[in-house]
Symmetry: C2
Subunit: 351 residues, 2 copies
C-alpha cells in the first residue's frame, strides 16, 4: 500500500463529487481499477479511489474474483446498488487499521460479505446477514471485489489453507451458501433429494448434500445442462420427466417462477422445499399445494465459511470444472456479458 | 336405523342413476335430508339415499355440523367436489358394519375426515391426510356431514367426553387443525406471535398458541374484527399499524394474497410463517424477502383430534362465542349464504 492513510482517509468513497474535488491533492498510487455500477450503467474505471480500512478493518488486495448470478441481477437493478460490484473473492491482506490485527498482514483470505451493526437484537440473534442496518460487500452500500482492493472487518476474514489454490478458494462464498442448507434443516441420508437448476450454485448444493451419502438428482430443462452434473458424478435428469411428489427434499436453484413451480410439483406431501436462489420481483404461484400438502419452504442465503474452506482444502467438492473463463478486470463488462449467457459456468475476474 | 343392511347395501351412493333404478325396492326410511352440491349447484334434498357403512365403518347420525371456509370455497369450485358437503360435525354412532366394533354403538363422536388407502408409503409415512388415493369427508369423493347420516371408518372416530356439549364438540375438527401447528414447529414461549386474520380459524389458533404462555396478537384489517379477540382475552390490532419484521412467528389465517403479503412483511428475518388457510388458485407474491430474510414457510392443514377434545372438555379454549347462528338442515342454502358474509362467525346446521 503506497498511499498514506492520512491522505486518503479524507476521501469519501460514496461521494464521488467530494472525491473529485480532492483528487488533485492525493498520490496517484491511491487509484485502482474497479468495475463500477452507477444508475444501472456498468463501467471499468482505472482511476477509482482505493478504499481506506476503517477501525477493525483490513485492506485486501484481490487476487481473483467470481461473477455470481446475484451480480447479474444487480446489474439489472436488483437491490438498487451503486458502487463496485462483486462479493466472491480470494485476496491478500496488505494493510490493517488496528495494530492488534497485524497478524493478518500478508495472509491469503476469503471473507464473509455481511457487515452488521453488531449491537442490535437482530445481529445478536440472527447474525449480521440480517441486520437492518447492514452493508453487504458489492451488494448493499459497500464497494465490492471487482477491483484491485477492497476492505472488510478482520472479523469477516478466514485464512485460506495452502491446499486451496486461488482458483479453488474463490468458490468459498457460494460453497458456504450451499452449506447453509445443513444449518437450516435436518436431512436424513436416505431421503431422496432433487436440485432443480444444474447451474453453478445448484451443482455446489448437489455436491455438498451428496457428501453425506444422500442420493441427489440434478434436474435441468435442457439435455445439455446434464453433462456437467454427470461429470461430477451426480445423477441428473430432465425435470419434466419426473413425476409429482417424487422427492422428500427439493432445492430450488433457478430463482425463476418456472423453477419454483416445478420444485413445488416435485416435493412430496410434508416434504421440504429449499429456496436457494434469490427471486427477483413478483412471481405468480399456485399456493394450494403448499398448504394442502403441508410443504415446508425454507429461504436460504449466506452460509458458514470455515467448513467451506475445509471442504475446498480437502478437495471434497470439485470446483475447477465450473470455471468457464477468466478475464482481466479491464474486460469486466465482457466478462459479465459472458457470465449472463445461458448455461455458462463460472466466469472469473483477475485484477 | 330402520333400513336393513341387506337392502341398502345394494345401492351405489355415487351412482344416482343406479340408485333410482333400485329405489322402488327399498324402504322409504332409507332416505335422508342432505345439502348436496352437483356441478356447482347447491340443493337441499329430502330424499337423498342414506349411506351404507362398509367394512370397518360406522353409520353416524349427525347431531350438529359446522360450516367452514373450505365449504364456501368448495361451493365456488375448489376441489371440484360433487356430493354432500360438510366435514365439521358431532354425531352418534347408530350402526356399525363389523360386530367387533359394537362398542361404538350409541357413542357420541367426532371424526377425522381423511380416509387413506392405509397401505401406500405415503399413508404409512405422512398419514392418510396425504394419501394420493384418499377420500375426504365432504371434500373429496365422500359424502359429508350436512345430512342426517354419514359414514366413517371407526378408526377415524373419537368419543366425545360428556363435558363437551354438541355446540362445543362441533369445533373439534378446526381446533385440531389449529393444534397441528404445534406438531410442525417448535415455538419458544417467549417468541411473539401474530395471527393475521381474526376469523373463526384464526381465533382458535390464537387461543391454542396462547395456552403455552405465548404473547399472541390477533391482527385484522377492520376495527370491528378486533372485538371478538378482545372478548377472548387476546391482544388485537390493525395489521397496517405494525412495523415490518415485528414478529418471530406469523400465522396466516386469511387465505388471500393480501393476507400473505402482510404476513410476510411482519415476520422477522429467520422467522416462521405458518400458512393455516388454504389458498385458492394463483397468487402473485414477492418472494425476494422469503429468500433474503431466510423465512421458513410451513403449510399446515389437518391436526390431531384427541388433544382438541381434551381442550374442549376442559373448557381451555372458548368456542361458544364463535357461534353466530344455527339453521335447520332444510335451510342449508341460507346458512351457507350467511356464513359467507364478511366478518361472520361460525354458522351451525342441525339436522
Amino acid at each position: 500500500m503506497n498511499c498514506e492513510v492520512r491522505t486518503y482517509s479524507q476521501l469519501t468513497m460514496h461521494n464521488s463529487l467530494f472525491f473529485f474535488q480532492r483528487s488533485l491533492e492525493i498520490d496517484k498510487s491511491c487509484f485502482m481499477q474497479a468495475i463500477h455500477l452507477q444508475n444501472g450503467r456498468l463501467s471499468y474505471q482505472a482511476d477509482y479511489p482505493q478504499p481506506d480500512p476503517g477501525p477493525g478493518e483490513a485492506l485486501i488486495n484481490v487476487r481473483l474474483a467470481g461473477i455470481c448470478a446475484t451480480d447479474l441481477e444487480i446489474v439489472k437493478g436488483y437491490a438498487g446498488f451503486s458502487g463496485v460490484l462483486g462479493h466472491e473473492f480470494v485476496g491478500e491482506v496488505t494493510a490493517v487499521h488496528d495494530t492488534d490485527d497485524a497478524n493478518w498482514m500478508g495472509k491469503r483470505v476469503a471473507g464473509s460479505i455481511n457487515l452488521g451493526c453488531g449491537s442490535c437484537p437482530v445481529c445478536l440473534a440472527a447474525g449480521p446477514e440480517h441486520c437492518p442496518e447492514r452493508t453487504v460487500l458489492g451488494i448493499i452500500n459497500k464497494d465490492g471485489a471487482f477491483a484491485d482492493y477492497l476492505t472488510l472487518p478482520v472479523a469477516n476474514l478466514h485464512a485460506v489453507p495452502d491446499e486451496a489454490a486461488d482458483e479453488t478458494a474463490v468458490f468459498t462464498e457460494p460453497l458456504a451458501a450451499a452449506l447453509k442448507i445443513r444449518e437450516q434443516v435436518k436431512i436424513r441420508p436416505n431421503q431422496p433429494i432433487a436440485v432443480v437448476g444444474p447451474g453453478r450454485l445448484g451443482l455446489l448444493v448437489g455436491q455438498v448434500l451428496a457428501l453425506a451419502g444422500t442420493a441427489v438428482t440434478m434436474l435441468g430443462r435442457r439435455r445439455e445442462s446434464l453433462a456437467l452434473p454427470a461429470q461430477l458424478g451426480l445423477a441428473a435428469g430432465l425435470v419434466d420427466e419426473f413425476p409429482d411428489n417424487a422427492f422428500d427434499f427439493v432445492v430450488e436453484a433457478t430463482g425463476n417462477e418456472a423453477g419454483f413451480a416445478q420444485s413445488l410439483r416435485l416435493v412430496r406431501p410434508q416434504g421440504t422445499l429449499i429456496l436457494k436462489s434469490t427471486f427477483q420481483g413478483q412471481a405468480t404461484l399456485d399456493l394450494t399445494k403448499l398448504v394442502v400438502a403441508e410443504i415446508n419452504v425454507v429461504g436460504s442465503r449466506c452460509g458458514p465459511f470455515a467448513p467451506a474452506l475445509r471442504l475446498l482444502a480437502d478437495g471434497a467438492v470439485a470446483v475447477r470444472p465450473f470455471i468457464e473463463a477468466e478475464y482481466p478486470l479491464s474486460d469486466g463488462a465482457a466478462a459479465l456479458a459472458h457470465a449472463a449467457r445461458p448455461g455458462v459456468r463460472k466466469v472469473l475476474l483477475r485484477p
